[in-house]
Subunit: 546 residues, 2 copies
């Protein structure tokens, strides 16, 4: 199959790809705080977008920026990657192939600039299969990013219509909303009618990689009858999505017929939608999963567009009791085999993981995934650390997510408060993304990722110095932080007051602590003037516990 | 000092202890779900309260119950402990003294019954100082509970008036609210006017242990001037609170003069209110902390009422950058020394911990606390795993809390979404308690605590069988779970429907999974009738990954 951006295999039916979207004025995603601006800064000759926070003390602090540039009146982003991919026509297509050939691509340079690292680190990690840059050659609007354990932990947000509710315009809004809060990638998990149109609108508006689960759309084409699915229908669907520019695809090729019996004694059976569809198909036909039997062909399609595999964990546990069981681990072994086969064909691969896992079993999940899947980036859904808190599963899963990311997981798929209960609305998407950003950052700090803790320190300094507006501006959710502060102390004067509502003016430990510091500055002067006795006594006294 | 419940040392001023509260009808804390009832069940001859969940499949599931029995028209609880303590008059007072003497007290039996363990385990852990039963002889309304790493991880909720806002009736309401959601203990951190009256109302209404930080009230008595504080004023305040029935007290006796200089270079200095007050006092007088110099006398007062120490970490870190630093660890060494001194005088001790700690430094906190403080129960505030998410600090801290509890922390002090920003309201208390209950439970499961995962499994079974009402009733926050479900699918029929709004009827993996299970039941019949070939083939195929 000819590689490159524009030799498009004919889809089975005409696509309304070029249908004009509704005209409107230029769209820029509103910053989260008045102190925030999107700036381009130079890093090794690459102009990289950052969210610049202007602090009230005159300093600035730059944050990783996911919102993308302004869109035109047709609601489309600029297409900076067109020139890059055009210049590479006729040569290798995928970042993996290029990395192996020693080429540092524009995508690698851009991703490295965002990370603040050397582009060669990105190239070598991609070449080794330990990192991927999900970047379909047809997603020309993309601002490339890298997923791998050597880099910042990333967060994916799911959006998508369902048979029960939701609409296309709403999904683009959800996309904007998700990247505004910091989502690094977005998966369009639409089911029901209008899947193609929704995805088209989302892709043309998205500066972040878009992932999908092609089996969802394929199932719509056979009216929901899993047994009626064929490789040909699936293949056609994948090509249609490759054409549109989908950057990575979840493929449940590891759900083998032989593994399905291993799920029968589970408490919650198979909870992955894709996994259950493929299990149902395998049983109905008593044949091996066609995604497994046609895997090499699938690799060649994905390679032609540089679509990355997200090898789906169709047998992931749906509750703590089913975690790390035979079904899950059998599939993981197969994902390792598929990882090698995909890489041989030049396709970038990440591997998906659970789900629901007790905290004591979390590290084993990362270790086995890395060992068995040859270091491929691990991409987990949570995992939830307990099943007893529906309505709070963004939290039960953030606990597992921070832990699993600390052990090396490269990307976390967010979970919203509505998980297990209903469809997320805008507020849920915001809560889910922010919750996962904080979990990912907690892991970055725990891993000692270069520079990660600078953000915490900057906010803590603002806190200690009672720079309330800087605290809000530096936080993951500035409007919420300010709203909470306003609830008790709405006056503008309180935003510079040297106390807060928790303790009141008399009790403020921070203020007392500043007094202590001032007293020591005074003591230091005395110390210099009078000799070392007092201060030395104090320091000596500290020795037993220091 | 004479031990026992009623020989009360004369407080410095008359207390309105016996002032009648406003009359009203009998108060019972409303259950969280219509399927919930408070029942008394027999455990080794002890009638122990449980929250019984009646499931729609005819089963029942019993949950640990913190709400207490109904209150009388004067808003007072019954006083079951009066008979117990009366019968022990003239003998040793504290649970530690009794445990060492080999006595299994009614409190130990009751706490053991709640835990579902043997009373002898409670006695031996208390005797060893690895567990405490905070139970002031004057808190006769108490339903005793045990805090220690061998038992369920507990959660404390803070309430309390402040100089800026809040009132007494509101605090009793917050108490009710906190225990309704499952708080195991409640700390009354009131500052400002009316501290004594607020605490009195809270104690008489509380079935759970009440903790305080006496220095807050003592500071009110000197009009907020830390330098004017004296041991005598503090002592009088402690006795006043012992008289009322406070079960445990945070005492910042480890903030030594010599350690204060160690905080000067920190980003956030001293963030504990009590710690900063004592540091300010030490500096103002250039004298050693009077809580340290009068510690033995303080022990004798607490021993007379069986008030437990919660040795405060006045020098805990206020941001990630300050975690596990010399100041924190110097104080922890001293808390270890004080633990032994208190135990020698028969006082039960737990030790407080941080605060703000990167995940990679969390385990060391528990290890050092247990090593240096001779196994005393560790009681931590979170810790927050990152500082960048004000407004979400219940989550940043739940991540740290679940991790630190997994490593052996016995009790977690909750953090609400308003932390660092404002005073928590009812919704915040609910969110904080539920978040910490799920973190504590995640730790119980990770530790393999006997029976802990049964709750997860029960909910997961209900989920798999589409028993929606049972999922709600079994969850930590039934009304929220149901409300989220109602948002998308409000119809009562949807509560038994074999799908939900996320996937819709066609895609439901749980339903497909049930079909798979049914198919296998069918296959099993065929297997028995026709021979083993198909099934054996499948299982053999699974072997490489199992």
């Amino acid at each position: 199959m000819a590689p490159g951006p524009r030799p498009r295999p004919a889809p089975a039916r005409p696509h309304p790809i070029d249908r004009p979207l509704r005209r409107r004025t230029v769209t820029t995603i509103e910053p989260l705080h008045p102190f925030h601006t999107r700036e381009l800064v130079d890093h090794d000759g690459v102009a990289v977008p950052v969210t610049r926070v202007a602090l009230t003390n005159g300093d600035t602090f730059d944050r990783y920026c996911t919102t993308g540039p302004a869109r035109d009146a047709d609601d489309r982003l600029p297409t900076p990657r067109r020139a890059w991919t055009d210049a590479r026509r006729g040569g290798p297509v995928t970042q993996l192939q290029l990395a192996r050939a020693g080429v540092v691509t524009e995508e690698m340079r851009f991703a490295a600039a965002r990370e603040g690292c050397d582009a060669e680190l990105v190239r070598s990690e991609v070449a080794a299969g330990r990192a991927i840059i999900p970047a379909n050659v047809n997603h020309e609007e993309l601002e490339p990013m890298v997923i791998g354990r050597a880099f910042l932990v990333k967060v994916n947000a799911n959006i998508g219509t369902s048979a029960v509710t939701s609409d296309t315009a709403g999904e683009v809004e959800k996309l904007d909303w998700a990247v505004r809060w910091g989502a690094d990638t977005v998966m369009d998990l639409s089911t029901g009618p209008g899947i193609h149109e929704t995805r088209e609108a989302v892709l043309r508006a998205s500066p972040v990689p878009i992932g999908t689960v092609p089996i969802y759309q394929a199932l719509e084409k056979v009216k929901g009858d899993a047994a009626a699915m064929t490789w040909e229908i699936y293949r056609e669907t994948v090509i249609e999505q490759c054409e549109q520019g989908v950057d990575y695809m979840t493929v449940h090729a590891g759900v083998l017929l032989a593994y399905v019996p291993l799920t029968v004694e589970r408490i919650t059976g198979i909870v992955s939608r894709g996994g259950s569809i493929m299990a149902g198909w395998c049983l109905a036909h008593h044949q091996e999963n066609f995604l497994y039997t046609h895997f090499d062909e699938l690799c060649d399609i994905l390679a032609a567009y540089d679509v990355s595999f997200s090898l789906g964990d169709g047998l992931r546990p749906g509750c703590l009791a089913d975690a790390n069981d035979d079904a899950q681990l059998a599939e993981l072994r197969t994902l390792g085999e598929l990882t090698l086969r995909a890489r041989e064909r030049g396709v970038q691969v990440m591997v998906e993981g659970p789900g629901h896992v007790p905290l004591d079993l979390v590290p084993e999940n990362v270790r086995l995934a890395h060992d068995w899947c040859h270091g491929a980036p691990f991409y987990t859904l949570g995992p939830l650390a307990t099943d007893i808190a529906p309505g709070y599963d963004h939290i039960t899963s953030a606990i597992g997510a921070a832990t699993i990311a600390q052990h090396g997981t490269a990307m976390l798929c967010y979970v919203t408060p509505k998980e297990h209960l209903g469809l997320p609305d805008r507020d849920d998407v915001r809560t889910g993304v922010v919750t996962y950003k904080l979990a990912a950052h907690a892991a970055d700090v725990a891993k000692g990722h270069p520079g990660a803790r600078a953000w915490d320190d900057e906010l803590s300094k603002a806190r200690f110095e009672f720079r309330w507006h800087d605290q809000f501006a530096l936080s993951l959710d500035p409007p919420l932080a300010q709203a909470y502060h306003d609830e008790t102390l709405p006056a503008e004067a309180a935003k510079t007051a040297h106390f807060c509502s928790m303790c009141g003016p008399k009790f403020c430990s921070m203020r007392i602590s500043q007094d202590v510091r001032a007293a020591f500055a005074e003591k230091s002067r005395e110390f210099v003037e009078l000799g070392a006795s007092v201060y030395v006594e104090a320091r000596a006294g500290a020795a037993p516990g220091a």
